[in-house]
Subunit: 400 residues, 2 copies
């Protein structure tokens, strides 16, 4: 039975950057036969952010239509490190690190993707027994010139920056994954386009029906400017506390709000259009729109409306009304004379280092028992129950 | 005991293009410890020409000083095909072809190199069990940019001609051979310089004492212009008839004579200087000098002074005095009407094809029973014992 237009639009229009070739993909969807949806992951980067969830929601939608996700643990490609969008090479991981990272990844992955309709495979199943002859056959199918067309390779090559020969193997191995699992559709961000197309090409060269390449948009980070990523520090992580997630959405620049609604919520298009209009005409406070978004995001990331409600409550109480949160972590002050404030901030976990603690003190960002600290000295007369606060959202209650 | 200067000069000055680094090589020679002399060969090109013999004579000289040749059968690199000095890729060989070609090669190789002081190894000893991990480690040590510096790669790359990624593996595998056999010195033509240096570099990167690279000059072909090679048709093959070898040397342009003396004979330098002077002042007929060279070459290639003497005699009788050679192959004419002359030339092996036969007839290059043939018709009145001749050196005696 062919899909109705609304479903088709949901799959192929919302939160989609490009499908190559789109007509072929729609045709295969309409055929109704379960498709093998290839999703690879790099165990050198095990932590998921909201940016990754854009693609995972797409996988989930397709699972609900009866298709199957093939999750590939890139334990071999992780040994090389894909330089896509990066200017230097990564370091190699040990087998143990890979194993542990894979567990971390999957714990997060299956918050969004249906485990029952997923097959997990490791690259080592095929690359573990790959011979030099296999490598020769594979590398004979593509040219150096073709690969140096990839944007990041070309930039580095033109700038005279080194590209290890190994790095040319990366797209080839990723492509061979498609052959090994007989992929029907491969998913990735738009920055993966080259690699996905090499997979399609290789399947065709090796006599398989070539996969379609399904690219989801890159989610902008909380700075509203660059791609969300761990290394840029502009991320909302799947596994950070719901209050933090909520607060980070609230810190988004207004310009990013509608894009987030589009990519990570199911709020209908019609409502989004109305929302955009209302913001533009000043008929609605962007804060209100952002709170709804923050609620949706926390609900999505934690799979719980209750958690989202709590995070919203905390935000309103702590940040908006500047009260102390209900649950404040406590710190048992050791006996003896109190240490300098900077050391105390490090000991309580309120600052990552003494130098950072001093910076916070100088910036008047530290409050001890209700008074702004003005110098890095041992706080005088700290009593049991006193609160030390850093910035707007970090607190510790002292016990002695 | 250190080597005397004459021996050192013979090794490092005569028939040497470049030794990198030369001082290091001389030092190791003087140490007296037996060196491992690496010589690889490509079983896709099993036939040796006089051009290859230049390097083999060098190996022999070093064997006589107590050093050991390690002959590497490039059964793996042959699968790739080195594009050095070529603009297109070669086709891959089957395992059987490789084996047969290796036998052919060694039969010729050991005419010049001492079998007792040679170890023959096959690349499959190490590449047969090479894993993807080994490939990754190896390819991580060099960059695409470094390899595209190799002259032929750069030319093809700049011209937009395809370079298969596999081809970048070729120098890497050849380099790894040096590591596998712990090579002390690698031998090759000057067109191998890049590959030899990658071997030296890789050994150093993998903690081995790096090899020296010993490059012998490229011998010019019988046209006196381009490198001697099978594909250019300007070669003197190790396994062709001595008379042919002799004749080919005699066909050399005068400008090439001294270079041949220098590279493939032991005629002392002092004599060569005098020879050059005598030719320049017209005090000697170049033909005389060439005959001596032809004699030396045939003696070298066949290891027999007697064979060389016979070839010289044949040349003088057949070519110079235009007599028929003593031994003329015979051809038994089938009964029935005689065929057209062109077909007869093909049947007797005097022409490779009917069209070539017609060309020869038109050029008046065919003689039947002492008379130049003027048309491609059945020769009238052929008697038993009549001779058919094509050009100066091909004959058949008819039997009927």
């Amino acid at each position: 039975m062919p899909l109705d237009q609304a479903t088709l639009d949901k799959i192929t229009r919302r939160a989609v950057a490009e499908i190559v070739p789109e007509g072929e993909f729609i045709q295969r969807l309409q055929e109704g036969r379960p498709l093998r949806l290839k999703m690879g992951f790099d165990p050198s980067r095990p932590d998921l952010t909201l940016g990754h969830v854009v693609g995972l929601r797409k996988l989930r939608q397709l699972q609900e239509l009866g298709h199957k996700v093939i999750l590939i643990v890139g334990d071999w490609t992780a040994q090389i490190g894909d330089p896509s969008g990066r200017s230097t090479q990564r370091t190699m991981l040990s087998a143990d690190e890979v194993k542990q990272n894979a567990q971390t990844y999957m714990r997060q992955f299956f918050r969004f993707v249906d485990r029952e309709k997923t097959e997990v495979v490791w690259q080592s199943e095929w690359f573990g027994k790959f011979t030099l002859e296999d490598v020769i056959r594979l590398t004979a199918k593509f040219t150096v010139g073709q690969f140096l067309q990839r944007e990041d390779f070309r930039k580095r090559f033109d700038a005279g920056n080194p590209i290890a020969i190994t790095e040319l193997l990366y797209p080839l191995l990723q492509a061979y994954d498609s052959v090994a699992i007989k992929s029907d559709v491969e998913f990735g961000g738009t920055d993966q386009k080259f690699n996905l197309l090499v997979g399609r090409d290789l399947q065709e060269k090796m006599g398989q029906r070539p996969q379609q390449c399904f690219m989801v948009p890159i989610l902008v980070g909380t700075d509203g400017v660059t791609k969300m990523s761990k290394s840029m520090g502009n991320f909302i992580a799947v596994e950070e506390p719901p209050e933090t997630q909520y607060g980070k959405v609230m810190s988004l620049p207004d310009t990013a709000i509608l894009n987030y609604y589009e990519l990570v919520t199911d709020v209908p298009e019609a409502e989004l259009v109305e929302m955009q209009r209302a913001i533009a005409y000043g008929e609605v406070n962007p804060m209100t729109v952002k709170k709804r978004l923050a609620f949706e995001v926390v609900k999505l990331l934690n799979g719980s409306e209750h958690t989202a409600r709590q995070a919203a409550d905390t935000f309103e109480r702590v940040v908006q009304r500047k009260e102390a949160p209900e649950e404040i972590p406590t710190y048992k002050l050791p006996s003896g004379p109190a240490p300098r404030l900077s050391k105390l901030l490090v000991d309580t976990g309120l600052a990552p280092s003494v130098s950072e603690a001093r910076r916070l003190i100088n910036q008047k960002a530290v409050e001890v028992a209700g008074a702004i600290a003005t110098a890095d000295e041992p706080p005088a007369g700290l009593k049991d129950g006193d609160v030390i606060r850093v910035g707007k959202r970090r607190w510790v209650r002292v016990e002695r």
